[in-house]
């Protein structure tokens, strides 16, 4: 946690407030349909599986796998200076929803598709916590 956090600060949309509030409490929360049981991400006001309005926020197990990933070798944002190469992955949670995050705690050359990972929480600033993933 620091005041000189140099990476991009997300601008939260109104529908994603519960996700960010959950992250602050070190809980990964996503949306689940009360009608068909489908889980999805990013947040919206309708089930992306069946179109129902009956949506609920639920806690994810935080376990999943790397559906795909890329390794940034080029610096696109000054906040990442000194951290390239770094991995950005699409994480497929056990519940089925996919989300973007970083895969950390493993040499970049060892990251593989379908590799099992689990969430951990990085307190970036006093008001921002980011869910990130590490190998199980």
């Amino acid at each position: 946690m620091s005041d000189d956090y140099a990476k991009a600060i997300p601008v939260t949309g109104p529908e994603s407030v519960p996700y960010w509030e959950g992250a602050k409490k070190h809980q990964l929360v996503i949306q689940k349909c009360g009608k068909c049981g489908h889980h999805w991400f990013p947040p919206s006001t309708v089930c992306t599986g069946c179109g129902s309005r009956d949506i609920n926020w639920v806690r994810s197990s935080g376990k999943g796998k790397v559906f795909s990933f890329v390794v940034f070798h080029r610096l696109y944002h000054k906040g990442w200076d000194g951290e390239v190469p770094y991995v950005v992955g699409i994480i497929e949670l056990e519940e089925g929803a996919r989300m973007l995050s970083n895969v950390i705690g493993i040499p970049v050359e060892d990251v593989k598709c379908d590799m099992p990972v689990e969430v951990f929480f990085e307190d970036a600033t006093d008001t921002l916590t980011l869910p990130k993933f590490k190998p199980v």
């Binding site: 990476k7 991009a8 795909s68 080029r74 944002h77 000054k78 990442w80 973007l100 990130k132």
Partner: protein
Amino acid sequence: MIEPSTHLRDKYAIAGAGHSRLGKVPGVSAQGLLEEAMLNALDDAGLTTRDVDGLICRGPDEIYTFHQIMGERLGIDAGFSTTLTNGGASQVMGVALAAMAIDAGMASCALVGYGRDNWSRVHANKENHMRGSGRPQQMYGMEFGPEFGYYGAIAAHGFGAQRHMHDYGTTREQFGAISLAFRKHALNNPDAVMQKPLTMEDYLNGRMIVEPFSLFDCSLQTDAAGAVIVTSAERAKDLRQKPVLIKGFGTGNNISGWFNGDNMTHTGAIQSGQTAYAMAGVGPEDIDYAQIYDCFTYMVLVQLEDYGFCKKGEGGEFVASGALDLDGALPTNTSGGQLSEAHVEGMLQVVEGVRQLQGIYGPERQVPNAEIGLVSGHGGNTVCESTLILGAA
């Protein structure tokens, strides 16, 4: 259930095509470049701005209502006019939309074009260069991306490439075969930006940008524009240039997202291609050449699969077989494409697709006995696809 439509087959034609200067063209705006391409297209057809009553175009995305700016600059009122916002799928779609608008009685002769001053814009200051694009900040996602250091179209496409490599054993050498093939074509195109041969060693030693993509997997940053004229096949017969028939077109939009399902390895080109083939009454086996949207090498490979030129998962083998060469099974991106000619988000591929059927090239660049060609557009947030099937008159 979508019913196949065939009543537009061969009813409309591209009567002329043009491009602007390509590459580093300082001191000219995107609008100025597009005017240059549009006037060249009108000259090709033997028409003037006075003959135009439809205007479909696109410029840098931060310019609002680009078609209105172009109309004012060209002095054109139009029965049908709009700016498209489907990224790289817009340009092929613009040709389709022109045919539909003319068929609906809203215009009779439409200019379709796209201009960008990307090189000048991106290299104009360091901050833009750092972001890798001239787009304003508002155009990027504000959450679920930048906070994880996720930037640029290269990363989105890279996810697809990585998953394809995982699922089907596709290799970087196979991506490289695409770069090498298009570079060979560029060497026969005096207007192409890249004029030096590229070897597999060069490709494999290329600076890694966002793995699995290195420098030579990425399309060029250029100032450039292209334009074509769409009118009825009947009217096109009486114009200066040999008409090129619009046999069919299609679109497919996996707008539920690139991350959704298997969209990143089974793209919108599947539906877009099927729609276009049905309208044209042809199949992949009838296509003599292709101009495939090549923002990154992987997109060529996956689209070739999705258009049915080879089986799913066999794109790597197909491109490594020499299929994309001028004497190959499917000569592809015969101008050098966006990887080696210039990057105008697919518009120059429409232009090249047309010129192959105008038969204006010498043997070093002309696809022998070309009668039917396929042009693809791909873009938006990587999920939109458009397809055009062109035929000799």
